[in-house]
């Protein structure tokens, strides 16, 4: 279980076969795509973002709820998108916009192991990855939350677009009590990790973020941001150990020692780290209300 593989590039071999089997992958709504474009533009301003978002009242409200949650820890209320951008910065607001969209639109209802448990696990990994990245002083700490939140989105894609294969994998999990990741690879020679990263790549998310999702079970092969891949990998494991939500199976992946080292944690620090992560995970309560 948890063997390292070299399969990380999108569009190679097995994934091409899978893509041919599905008609279309979900696209980002224009407002979220626009926000993404704006953030990638070095000349972007808070009012650009505000203009992109403000007509979508429901999305705006959801964003404000998130930025005012204990997750971000501001004592004064943030009352407008512009204000949010000024206080939090563009990358964070982009991540919040994405989170708000994904939690609402991509709810994965009907997932056999419970969509609510799925999103709680995903939010937990987001919170844990964010904490680990900050702890390590990673440059891409902002993206760690989104990478964590979206690390398992491939399961929703598989459930929606490759239902029979996905159910076969779930059956194997039920029969053999193994990791869903391993069952998926047995059934379809790919996994939710690669499939999810394909979706995020289509959404034009930053490539190091796409990579972190693609390799969250095999972080050693990361080339763009081994640090980000390591924290998402570790965050997944710690979140499972803390029984936060469900990944669709009852097992836990074996940690990559290289990733562990890269995340900068000594074995003697594990106890403190686990307690610290548990504290971070508690902050996702506000996000849970949006599921």
């Amino acid at each position: 279980m948890g063997e390292s593989t070299k399969r990380t590039r999108l569009g190679e071999g097995d994934l091409k076969r899978f893509i041919r089997r599905i008609d279309s992958l979900p696209t980002l709504p224009s407002v979220v795509a626009r926000v993404n474009e704006i953030v990638e533009n070095p000349n972007a301003s808070a009012s650009d973002i505000n203009n992109a978002i403000r007509r979508d009242v429901a999305l705006s409200a959801r964003i404000l709820k998130l930025v005012n949650s204990s997750f971000y820890g501001f004592t004064r209320k943030i009352s407008s998108i512009t204000h949010a951008v000024v206080i939090l910065g563009l990358p964070t607001v982009r991540n919040v916009v994405l989170s708000a969209f994904v939690l609402d639109a991509f709810s994965g209802k009907g997932l056999p192991f419970g969509h609510r448990e799925f999103w709680i696990h995903s939010l937990g990994v987001g919170a844990a990855a964010n904490a680990l990245a900050k702890r390590r002083g990673l440059a891409e700490a902002e993206d760690a939350f989104v990478a964590g939140l979206l690390h398992d989105v491939g399961k929703i894609v598989l459930h929606q677009f490759a239902r029979a294969d996905f159910n076969d994998a779930l059956r194997i999990v039920a029969e053999r009590d193994c990791l869903l990741y391993d069952a998926e690879r047995e059934v379809m020679s790919t996994s939710h990790a690669e499939v999810g990263s394909l979706l995020l790549d289509m959404w034009h998310l930053p490539s190091h973020l796409v990579e972190a999702v693609a390799v969250h079970h095999t972080p050693d092969v990361a080339t763009q941001s081994p640090g980000l891949a390591a924290v998402v990998h570790l965050a997944d494991i710690l979140t499972r150990a803390l029984l936060v939500g469900s990944g669709g199976d009852q097992r836990i992946p074996r940690v990559s020692h290289a990733a562990w080292t890269r995340a900068g944690v000594a074995v003697g620090e594990v106890d403190d780290l686990v307690r610290e992560i548990a504290g971070e995970v508690r902050k996702i309560d506000a996000f849970v209300e949006l599921i």
């Binding site: 009907g110 192991f113 009852q250 940690v255 307690r275 995970v281």
Partner: protein, 163 residues
């Protein structure tokens, strides 16, 4: 969500550190410390609403025993709700699921007792959570890092249980 959430009406979440976590039985430990000896809060902390997963298991339709309780909603292929979480499964329910092509369901583990109300997956006990953690790490404790994580997680549950 919906129209009642206006821009000026987002509730403040200051003081959220005393709010009990709903996301895991392993997590209340920190909140319990923050809340001291507030017994009402401690009771709420044990009423973990979302971690019925500890006593849920995924089974194939053909393996359903009469009287087992659904631990999660069951949907058909188009996202329509077929059966709700908490329903006690009868042979007729199983037939319905077969007809609609459902392959597996989540049931509350070990709750085939026909007497009394269906077990509420949310009011879970720490024993089951500890068992679940131990099961998760089976065969992995040879790895010092996995072992340390296992012990840390178990430790948090055990101290939460004592409170």
């Amino acid at each position: 969500m919906g129209p009642e959430h206006s821009w000026t009406n987002i509730p403040s979440l200051e003081g959220a550190s005393t709010h009990p976590s709903r996301v895991s039985p392993a997590v209340p430990d920190l909140a319990a410390e923050a809340c001291g000896t507030d017994t009402t809060l401690r009771t709420r902390l044990q009423d973990v609403s979302l971690c019925g997963r500890e006593i849920m298991k995924e089974i194939a339709i053909h393996a359903i025993a009469s009287g087992q309780v659904l631990a999660a909603d069951v949907f058909d292929g188009r996202g329509g709700l077929l059966l709700s979480k908490g329903m006690r499964l009868s042979p007729e329910h199983v037939e319905l699921l077969e007809r609609r092509g459902v392959l597996t369901v989540s049931i509350v583990d070990g709750e085939a007792d026909a007497d009394g109300p269906p077990a509420e997956p949310g009011t879970d006990d720490f024993e089951t959570a500890i068992e679940r953690v131990d099961h998760m790490f089976e065969g992995l404790d040879d790895d010092p890092v996995m072992k340390a994580i296992h012990e840390a997680a178990r430790g948090m549950l055990e101290s939460a249980r004592k409170k």
